[in-house]
């Protein structure tokens, strides 16, 4: 708190709004990534050839792949860093909590972004160890995505775990997509009202698209 | 009682040239020297806020004080309707002269012509200034400013920002003030109350304040003091004023030698929501515009307790339409208010307690449709429903008059200086421009005219000529004043009687409302003059206060204010008693037309009372001395108002 008027602006990232804009821009990149990732994944349903071919395609150019990976890693790092800094700010901004606190309009998703965020962060690490490096996969075959996926999701616990994680992803991005339109100032008198709905629909498509793979694999096994 | 004529220091020459003449005559302060002059501004409403900002822009060293937690909260913020200006944007024949004429006539010929003319002249600059500040006035589709008409005028000259004109104008002034605060040109003292004026060698040289958070009593020295502390309507306890509105600053200045003019001139607003119970803390105004489409009525028979919907047309008395066929429901505020009181006095009032009349929109809704009424008054209807729990689309509203504005205040000359050299009084706190009755949309105009465009000039003229010695707060006069204020504060804090401050305030308010409210008479005023000193004595003997002096103590704040109301109330009654005429908001039951078409209507006495009554404080429990400023009307001819 300052008792005086600073009189001038401060540096972009020092303000909460600057951090939120960083979160929003990295959020756009990450949502874009998960969307593409999801559409790619759906090829599992089309059989081994299709998905393995796709996986191979992605690896045609290692420099390109690593550029993309670096952008994603940087996005995650910046996103998480801003989130942690803002979360610390929140605690400092209200040192004494309310004895009673009601909620008017705030969705569960909007109030639990940090928690869904933590969960997803852990999930991403496990997911990379699971399907990218194979470190924690019990039967990992380098380059055979179809095999890796189907063997993993035969395990009902893993399949269910992935579905649950997609629930968290839905929560996180259903609010995140709306929130990033706010942070980036994409409001419009006529279309703003639709932003929440669009965000939710997009989040459902992504989450269901992802969840379709473990569910389908498990369903086929179960037959 | 002495009878001295006061000199208003009005410039010579034709009325159109007076302000130009004065501005040319005035001595100027060298721009480089302005920062060496310290000016104290008490109050941060339209008048005080605009004055503080404008003087800081000129280069003066300004200290501004307000009792609220922020200068943005002054009660100017609650004004709904609008602000008048002689722009003639509507091409409907408006002019400076017409605004001047309407204001003098509306004030029932008890205002100073030269001041009113200047107000009308300046009105056009105010609109320009406010627009430039970003005040979001209502606009037409072509992008030009919209206007509406208001009571007492036949032209559309009122500028407005929805129903929140006062708020928007105040925020404009507040933003200008904050700009100066941010730039270090104004030192703001929020939550600080002025408790005394310090006069040294006959000149105002500072004030004593109490910090409402820490309780610290402090002295502030300056080269001039400006009071923009608003009106004293809360002497009636229930009014449309904010709870904190008080007379303390002007009353204590009065006790230091500033004459108090026309204290009995108070304005009653006819369309307020009636009192619901004895816990009622304030009254809420509903915009006067409601009278454009609502019809006012009471049951024909006294003691009729049926629901409004059960009373057939034939058993309703649309008394304003009956008595004033020409103006009907749109008669001026004072006339409408008195007619409502009369109906209730006859036992025909409606609602709990019987102090209310119906304002019925059924006919308008039938004629125009509910949608149209909703568009025009939707926010007001919502407000009414929020407060009363009744839906005015289905049942008639209940309204009753309430105290709204005080035309009286500290006497000032043409330069807005009080009878204490170096102390200026602006806005509602002074008495100058509205005579015995203020027209709608004129209060905002006056506050901003004083603050933006008059005081910043006239105070320079004073400062340029008053080369007093440098004085700081260590001067003996300040020490004495601090001692006095501390003693009074300690006395109140030590008081452990049985009655709360509010109970005394309620008692005084009720008495004032009965004796010195909408209608006054000699017997009532005389009785009140006996009763008020008794209440005052009991107050000092039996009031109970919590002890905390070095912390926020809202009871102590109230107690100091009520103590002053208890003295002011007496002066108001005395002023009302000496003014043996009816004019504007001052209606003496003995002074009415006894015959002809206007039988029963207010009767002015221009031969004997065409003056402003300025009272001089003579000491505790002493009768105050009357000074008269004769009012001459060279440009507007004195006529009786007629609304039949």
């Amino acid at each position: 708190m300052s008792a005086t008027v600073a009189g001038t602006g401060s540096r972009f990232y020092e303000t909460a709004i600057g951090k939120k804009i960083v979160m929003a821009v990295t959020g756009v990149i990450l949502v874009g990534f998960v969307f593409v990732h999801m559409t790619g994944n759906l090829q599992v349903l089309q059989g081994a050839d299709k998905i393995n071919h796709y996986a191979k395609l992605l690896r045609t150019s290692m420099p390109l792949l690593w550029t993309a990976r670096l952008v994603l890693i940087a996005s995650v790092v910046l996103h998480v860093r801003a989130a942690l800094q803002l979360y610390a700010l929140k605690a400092a901004a209200r040192p004494v909590a309310y004895a009673k606190k009601a909620h008017r309009g705030a969705t569960l998703a909007s109030r639990t972004m940090i928690w869904s965020g933590y969960t997803l962060a852990i999930f991403i690490v496990l997911h990379i160890l699971h399907f990218t490096t194979g470190t924690i996969h019990t039967d990992f075959v380098e380059g055979d995505v179809f095999h890796n996926v189907t063997t993993a999701f035969k395990n009902p616990l893993i399949a269910a775990g992935y579905v649950v994680m997609m629930g968290f992803l839905f929560m996180h991005i259903s609010h995140g997509i709306f929130s990033l339109t706010q942070s980036l100032g994409l409001s419009h008198p006529r279309y703003s009202a639709a932003a929440k709905t669009v965000a939710r629909v997009l989040a459902v498509i992504i989450a269901v698209g992802f969840a379709a793979v473990p569910v389908a694999v498990f369903a086929v096994i179960a037959k | 009682m002495t009878l001295n004529a006061l000199n208003a220091n009005v410039p010579e020459g034709p009325i159109e040239k007076k302000w130009d003449t004065r501005r040319f005559e005035m001595k100027l302060v060298n721009p480089a020297n302005k920062r060496k002059y310290k000016v104290i501004v008490v109050g941060s409403g339209l008048a005080g806020g605009s004055a503080a900002a404008s003087m800081a822009e000129l280069g003066y060293d300004v200290d501004c004080f307000c009792y609220q937690d922020s200068p943005r909260r002054a009660h100017s913020i609650a004004a709904q309707g609008g602000i008048n200006a002689a722009k003639n944007y509507q091409n409907d024949g408006d002019s400076v002269w017409r605004l001047f004429y309407d204001t003098v006539k509306g004030g029932d010929y008890r205002a100073r012509e030269a001041n009113v003319y200047r107000l009308a002249q300046i009105s056009v600059n105010i609109i320009d200034q406010c627009v430039a500040q970003g005040v979001p006035f209502a606009r037409e589709y072509g992008g030009t400013l919209a206007n509406r008409s208001f009571g007492g005028a036949q032209v559309s000259r009122t500028f407005y920002a929805r129903g929140q004109t006062g708020q928007q104008l105040l925020l404009g002034a507040y933003q200008s003030l904050e700009r100066q605060i941010g730039a270090g040109k104004v030192k703001m003292h929020p939550r600080t109350e002025m408790l005394d004026l310090v006069v040294v060698d006959g000149r105002a040289r500072g004030i004593i304040t109490r910090d409402l958070v820490t309780g610290k009593i402090e002295a502030h020295a300056a080269d001039a003091v400006v009071l923009g502390t608003g009106g004293y309507g809360n002497v009636f306890y229930l009014s449309t004023n904010a709870k904190g509105c008080n007379t303390t600053a002007i009353w204590r200045a009065h006790k230091r030698g500033a004459h108090f003019a026309n204290p009995c001139f108070t304005q009653i607003h006819p369309t307020c929501i009636p009192v619901a119970g004895d816990y009622q803390s304030k009254l809420t105004l509903m915009s006067e515009s409601l009278r454009n489409d609502g019809r006012i009525w009471v049951p024909l028979k006294a003691g009729d307790t049926r629901k409004a919907s059960d009373i057939p047309e034939g058993e309703r008395d649309y008394y304003l339409e009956r008595r004033y066929p020409a103006f009907g429901n749109l008669v001026p505020r004072d006339v409408a208010s008195r007619a409502a009181k009369l109906a209730c006095d006859e036992g025909r009032g409606v609602g709990p307690g019987g102090r209310g009349v119906y304002l019925d929109f059924a006919e308008s809704i039938g004629r125009l449709g509910e949608a149209m009424i909703r568009e025009r008054y939707g926010n007001l209807f919502d407000m009414y429903e929020r407060i009363t729990g009744e839906n005015p689309y289905q049942v008639p509203m209940r309204i009753y008059p309430a105290i709204h504005y005080t035309m009286g205040g500290l006497w000032v000359d043409y330069d807005l200086m009080s009878t204490i050299p170096g102390m200026f009084v602006i806005g509602e706190a002074n008495f100058s421009d509205h005579g015995a009755n203020r027209l709608g949309a004129s209060a905002l105009m006056q506050g901003l005219a004083d603050g933006y465009f008059i005081l910043p000039y006239t105070i320079g003229n004073y400062l340029a000529q008053s080369k007093g010695p440098k004085i700081d707060a260590s001067h003996a006069a300040f020490k004495d004043a601090v001692k006095g204020v501390t003693a009074t504060t300690d006395k109140l804090l030590a008081s452990k009687g049985k009655r709360t401050v509010d109970s005394f305030h309620r008692e005084l308010g009720l008495l004032m409302w009965e004796a010195c409210g909408m209608a006054r008479n000699e017997a009532g005023l005389t009785a009140a003059l006996e009763k008020i000193p008794q209440i005052r004595a009991e107050f000092w003997k039996d009031v109970i206060l919590p002890s905390g002096g070095a912390e926020m103590n809202q009871e102590l704040e109230k107690a100091g204010r009520v103590a002053d109301f208890l003295e002011l109330g007496e002066l108001m009654c005395f002023d009302a008693l000496q003014r043996n005429e009816s004019c504007g908001g001052h209606f003496r039951e003995e002074h009415v037309e006894t015959e002809g078409a206007n039988k029963g209507e207010a009767k002015r006495d221009d031969d004997n009372y065409c003056y402003a009554a300025a009272w001089e404080y003579k000491g505790p429990d002493e009768r105050q001395a009357l000074h008269k400023e004769p009012l001459t009307f060279d440009n507007v001819h004195l006529t009786q108002r007629d609304y039949k």
Binding site: S2, V5, A6, I17, T181 | Q175, E178, S281
Partner: protein
């Protein structure tokens, strides 16, 4: 018939910013449904005074929802949580006999407690002082109709300008953010032609001051707009963010200098 009833109040009592506070329990008896919430507290205070106790301090002034003085939490809802209503406009008919109410002050590091339910909102004034104005010295204005303002823009500006600075947005926000307050002023002035010359400078300065005051960040929960007595929408926050982004991109080293106050 007027309904009367009684309530149990748990009121936060704190002598000053420096001292610790705690809840105290009071019974409000004979509450009339026609009372406003503050009138109900007035009656409680009269009883406390009669018993020689310290009355509950709370800010209030106009008691008609426009000055912005009043405001505290009732059961975790700013101003009691009724749409478009300040606590002074909230009437007791909305409550039931025997209800238990928890009254807490606005809680934010940027709003230190003054006493009981009263807080210091000076941070809001300082945000305005940093840039929430149009620099137009008295007397330097052009004619009011010289610059046409489209009605739609003027109306939208008025929607934002309606802010009463009560602080409910900060109080209700899970992050104690002042975005809605700041955005309302940035939006109001940014929508009008008169506000354009200082548009970039204003948003940079105000956002900077908001940060310096220690307010939190916006997570777009919408809690603020739900309790805003003037129903200012969070679309204005998006607008401010866009302005801030644009101004940051355009900012030149000199942008913050000059233009003496």
């Amino acid at each position: 018939m007027t309904r009367t009833f009684s309530l149990t109040l748990h009121v936060w009592r704190q002598k000053s910013a420096k001292q610790a506070g705690q809840f105290a329990k009071y019974i409000a008896a004979n509450v009339s449904e026609h009372m406003s919430f503050l009138e109900m507290l007035d009656v409680v205070n009269q009883d406390l005074l009669a018993k020689g106790e310290d009355p509950i301090a709370f800010d209030h002034d106009c008691r008609e929802g426009i000055c912005g003085s009043c405001g505290f939490m009732v059961n975790g809802d700013a101003h009691g949580g009724h749409r478009g209503t300040t606590i002074c406009q909230l009437h007791m008919r909305h409550f039931k006999d025997g209800e238990e109410l928890w009254l807490e002050p606005w809680r934010s590091a940027a709003f230190p407690i003054v006493k009981d339910l009263a807080v210091d909102r000076g941070a809001f004034d300082r945000i305005i002082a940093s840039g929430g104005f149009v620099s137009v010295p008295t007397g330097s204005a052009v004619d009011g109709n010289a610059i046409p303002v489209p009605k739609t823009e003027a109306d939208l500006a008025m929607d934002a300008a309606a802010c009463i600075g009560c602080g409910a947005c900060v109080a209700m926000c899970p992050n104690s953010a002042a975005q809605l307050f700041t955005a309302a002023k940035v939006g109001h002035l940014g929508l009008l032609p008169q506000g354009q010359p200082e548009r970039d400078r204003r948003v940079l300065a105000m956002v900077g001051q908001m940060t310096a005051e220690g307010f939190g960040h916006c997570t777009s929960t919408g809690e603020c707009e739900a309790v805003c007595p003037k129903e200012i929408p969070i679309a204005f926050i998006a607008r401010m963010n866009r302005d801030y982004l644009e101004a940051s991109v355009k900012e030149r080293p000199q942008a913050n200098r000059g233009g003496s106050g």
